[in-house]
Symmetry: C2
Subunit: 245 residues, 2 copies
C-alpha cells in the first residue's frame, strides 16, 4: 500500500484544531496541488477565498449553523465556482458569453470539487486535518455578500484546515458491492447489504458517543430526506446567473 | 515535499495506455479510497459502473465524441450520482423522500467528484494514468439506457485508467494570485495576469504540437463559451428526477 493510499483511507473530518499555525507557503502548495487536478475543457473555474478576518469567520460560523471550528481553525477557505473570470476573458476577445447553462454549472461545480479534494489530500498527507463546511449553503446569499462575490460566482462549500486536536475513528462506508457494479445498474441485493451495514454504523455511533447516539445509516438518511433540502438554492443560483436553462 | 504532493502536482491526462491489465483487487482498493472521501451529511451518493463489455465500450466511445481510449483503456468506469439508493432506504423506513431539490443534486454531484478524485489520486500514486470523460454528457440519455440506470441516478462522467503509454507535459495552470484571494473577491489585476498566462499556454501548445496548435487560454475559453453548452442537460436531469425545484 502506498503512503498516499493510506492517507486517503484514513480520512476523517477534524473539528478540533491545535493553535499551531499552517505556514502560508504550505497552504499555497496545497492550493497549487488543487490547481493541478483535472479541469473540464481546461475551464479552471475555481476561486478560493481565504478568510482571515475574525468578524467574517464568526459570521460564517453562525450562518453555517454554529460550527465553532470555522472560527478556531488556523485556515478557513471558501471554495467558489467562478465563471466571472470567463466573462472577463470573453470581454478580452469581444466574444459574447452564453451563460446560464446547467452544463456550465455542473462543469464549474465539479471543477471546484476536484480541486478541493486535491487540497484536502495534500494537507492530510502533511499530517493536517480538514473539515468540509457544506453548511455555508444554509445562507449562500449572506456568504456571497460578505465576500463581495460578483454575479457568476457562488460559494460551493467551506474548508477548515489545521493540526488535529482530536483523533476520531474512521467512519465505516457502504460495502463495496453496493457502490461498484459491473456493466449495468443492478441493486437487487442492496437492501439486504444495507441492513448489514446499518448494524456496523449503529455500532460505530454507539461506541463513539458512549451510547448517546444510536442510529443506523438508513435511519439517518431517511430522517434527513423526508425534509426539504435548502429550497432556497435554486432561486439563489438563478439570481447569481446559474441554472437558468 | 511529500510523495503525495508530487503525485498531485504531476497530474496530466493520459489518453494512450499499454495492454498491461490493472488487477481487479488494485482497482477495488482505489474504489475504497474513493469511498473514504468526505461525503456530505454521510449521503454516500456515488455508484460506479465498471464497463467491461466491448460493445458497450465502443458505443460509449462514440457517444463521447469518438474518444478511442474509452475502448482501449484497461479500466473504464462510469461515475453516477445515485439517489435511487436513498429512495430504497426511505422505503425501508416507510419515509416519503422529498426529491428533486437543487441542493440534493449538488450534494450528490459533489459527492461523486470527491470520490472520483480520490480514485484518481490512488491510481496515479500507483503509477497509473487516468483521463476523465466529460464527453459522456454529450449523450447522457443513451449512456443511462445502456447502463440501465433507474430514475434518480445519472452519469456524471467517465474515467479511463491504465498504464501510461505516453508522457505528456504537465499543462500550465493559472497564476496563484488569480485563484487564491484574501477575505474578499477582488479581480482588478486578473486581466493583466491572464494576459501573461496566455503567453505560457501559447508556448505549451506550440511546443507540444510542433506548431500545429497555437492558442492562448483566453482564446480557447472565449471560443468555447460563445457556443451553447449541452442545452439538453437540464431537461435530461429533470426527466431523471433531479433539479425540479
Amino acid at each position: 500500500m502506498t503512503d498516499t493510499l493510506s492517507t486517503l483511507q484514513n480520512h476523517r473530518s477534524i473539528r478540533k484544531f491545535t493553535d499551531e499555525p499552517v505556514p502560508q507557503e504550505h497552504l499555497e502548495a496545497y492550493i497549487r496541488a488543487g490547481q493541478a487536478a483535472a479541469t473540464s475543457s481546461f475551464i479552471q473555474a475555481t476561486t478560493v477565498i481565504q478568510v482571515n478576518a475574525q468578524d467574517q469567520r464568526e459570521q460564517m460560523a453562525e450562518w453555517a449553523g454554529n460550527q465553532a471550528y470555522i472560527v478556531s481553525a488556523p485556515v478557513f477557505l471558501v471554495f467558489c465556482a467562478d465563471m466571472r473570470r470567463h466573462e472577463l476573458v470573453c470581454d478580452m476577445h469581444q466574444a459574447e458569453m452564453l451563460s446560464g447553462f446547467t452544463e456550465q454549472f455542473m462543469t464549474a461545480t465539479i471543477d471546484v470539487a476536484l480541486f478541493a479534494q486535491n487540497v484536502v489530500v495534500a494537507a492530510e498527507a502533511d499530517g493536517l486535518g480538514i473539515c468540509y463546511i457544506g453548511g455555508l449553503r444554509n445562507n449562500p446569499d449572506k456568504v456571497s455578500t460578505a465576500l463581495e462575490l460578483p454575479e457568476l460566482v457562488y460559494p460551493v462549500f467551506g474548508l477548515c484546515i489545521g493540526h488535529p486536536d482530536q483523533n476520531p475513528e474512521v467512519k465505516p462506508r457502504l460495502p463495496l458491492s453496493v457502490v461498484l457494479k459491473q456493466d449495468r445498474y443492478e441493486d437487487g441485493a442492496d437492501a439486504d447489504t444495507i441492513r448489514d451495514y446499518d448494524a456496523a454504523v449503529w455500532h460505530y455511533y454507539e461506541t463513539r458517543t458512549g451510547g448517546n447516539k444510536s442510529m443506523t445509516w438508513s435511519e439517518q438518511i431517511s430522517g434527513m430526506l423526508k425534509k426539504e433540502a435548502r429550497p432556497h438554492m435554486l432561486p439563489f443560483l438563478q439570481q447569481r446567473g446559474f441554472l437558468r436553462r
